[in-house]
């Protein structure tokens, strides 16, 4: 009959002094004023970060905003193979390919837009890329903006990152 019955530790009974509350309240007031004075004296120890002015340094493997890599001559490294947009589960990458003027390169992206509102930051595009042309190592999130249009990042913005 006692299977599964577990004895739970009950809180011990309060002693006479504790059940008067008064001394305990004074102790509690001491704790809080201690925190207050310590934080007023050493404001630099408060863990709160003053966000827009001070930014947290993200760990090196943080996966954030995308950037497109460049060749040594400054042209985009991307060859418009559509691997990333095919891999993208959120369908947020739009590529329009064009013929490259460079004879060694077959295609280049005329348009390369990432809709940051659709992106889920899964990193599949980075894994899919055969040329290491897209990376997510900018170390920051998508910044907020006022319109949806401004959050569709074009190739120029992505190359600058």
């Amino acid at each position: 009959m006692t299977i599964g019955v577990r004895k739970v530790a009950r809180p011990r009974k309060m002693s006479g002094g504790e059940s008067l509350y008064l001394l305990e309240i004074v102790k509690g007031l001491g704790v809080t004023i201690g925190h207050l004075l310590r934080n007023m004296r050493h404001q630099e120890n408060i863990a709160t970060m003053e966000y827009p002015e001070v930014r947290r340094v993200m760990p090196p493997r943080f996966r954030g905003l995308h950037r497109l890599m460049k060749r040594p001559d400054g042209t985009p490294r991307c060859v418009a193979c559509f691997c990333c947009s095919t891999a993208c589960p959120a369908v947020c990458i739009t590529i329009v390919a064009g013929e490259s003027p460079d004879p060694k390169v077959e295609k280049y992206p005329v348009r390369f837009d990432i809709d940051m509102l659709r992106c889920i930051f899964c990193g599949h595009c980075v894994e899919a890329c055969p040329c290491d042309a897209i990376r997510m190592d900018t170390g920051w999130y998508t910044p907020p903006d006022f319109t949806r249009e401004k959050l569709i990042f074009t190739i120029d913005m992505l190359l600058e990152k």
Partner: protein
């Protein structure tokens, strides 16, 4: 001529009292937010700027008040329009009216006539305070009922039950003090607290009535609906209590009323138990220390010291309200009722009995 003098003095006193009380509200809001932040290891408000100055977030209450002032004055569809609109007035007015009988300083002589530094030197001072502060519950219950919504109604009911229970202990805890000082006129009570007990300790209410002080302190917290007795607005269970359906400036009036209650409560504690405007060992002519040492001071400085003493005591107790709020969690409803009826009430009755007995044995009776 005399009529004009009285009128000007009365208006000036009312204006100073109102300005003092209402200007303390934003300062207390700021102290509450900043103090809470530091107690909880946060930074607190520090963003609102005027000309690049933040002053440690002092402009935030101002910005909040402006924001609330410019919001739409919304009345819910099913609310009782009249009661819904007069409820905030009922909350704020009694709190401000109570301040009328609290003396700021000793009577001064202006143009050859004595002027009391309080709006009304009533001979029924304490009774007036209880009569007026008892009306504050109407604001809360009207707001809760007129909103026609379930959580405000629950908040209003809780609040009225709590305020009525604690008003009993509030009144009874003062009776011992009245027996000792033999007056209910607040200026008399403050004046007699300037004497010395056994020639050493100031004859403050807290030394004569330590238990009465504790009971009064707890009851005042309950009356002001402050933590640990802020169940009327228990966010976790009844959203925000009686003012859930209020917005814009009506909400801010409830908010102001809470802080004015704090100011009045602190002023009452300071006046009744901590000598009001009495500065320890300061007589009309200057300091008179127990050892027979004396230090003469000009009359104006004595007056300033005394008014400063009152304001300082008031601010300390206002800070104590804030300090306690961020230290002690909220009571459960049944715990509040148990504390009020089973602990505070018998203790305050016992306090009256013991005070009477001691007065009979020591002072030869009243």
């Amino acid at each position: 001529m005399n009529g004009w003098f009285d009128l000007v003095v009365s208006v000036a006193r009312v204006a100073v009292m109102l300005a003092f009380t209402l200007s303390l509200v934003p300062i207390l809001v700021w102290a509450e937010r900043k103090g809470a932040a530091y107690i909880q290891d946060r930074r607190g408000p520090n963003r609102a700027k005027i000309l690049g100055l933040t002053l440690g977030g002092l402009f935030h209450p101002l910005a909040d008040a402006l924001k609330l002032l410019f919001k739409e004055d919304f009345i819910p569809d099913h609310a009782h329009r009249l009661f819904y609109q007069i409820a905030p007035m009922f909350a704020l007015a009694p709190a401000l009216m109570t301040f009328a009988v609290i003396p700021f300083g000793p009577p001064v002589v202006i143009a050859g006539r004595p002027v009391a530094l309080q709006v009304a030197d009533l001979n029924v001072g304490i009774l007036y305070i209880f009569a007026i502060s008892g009306m504050a519950v109407y604001g809360v219950i009207l707001a809760g009922w007129a909103s026609n919504s379930k959580y405000p109604l629950l908040g209003g009911l809780r609040s009225s039950a709590q305020m009525i229970s604690y008003e009993v202990s509030l009144g009874l805890s003062i009776i011992g003090l009245v027996m000792v000082f033999r007056s209910v006129r607040l200026s008399d009570i403050v004046a007699s607290q300037g004497e010395l007990l056994w020639g050493v300790v100031p004859k403050w209410g807290v030394f004569l009535q330590p238990l009465g002080f504790l009971l009064f302190l707890v009851a005042v917290y309950a009356e002001a609906n402050r933590t640990p007795f802020d169940l009327p607005e228990g966010e976790s269970e009844i959203v925000a209590g009686f003012h859930t359906e209020y917005g814009s400036f009506k909400f801010s009036i409830f908010f102001m009323a809470e802080y004015v209650h704090m100011v009045v409560g602190s002023a009452l504690i300071a006046t009744l138990f901590f000598g009001g405007w009495q500065f320890p060992y300061l007589a009309d002519s200057g300091f008179l220390l127990p050892g027979g040492i004396s230090l003469g001071l000009p009359g104006a400085l004595v007056l300033l010291l005394r008014i400063g003493a009152f304001v300082g005591k008031l601010l300390f107790f206002a800070w104590l309200f804030i300090w306690v709020r961020w230290t002690i969690p909220r009571f459960r409803y049944d715990q509040v009722m148990r504390l009020g009826w089973k602990v505070l009430l018998p203790l305050s009755l016992a306090n009256i009995f013991v005070t009477g007995l001691v007065l009979l044995l020591v002072g030869g009776g009243g």
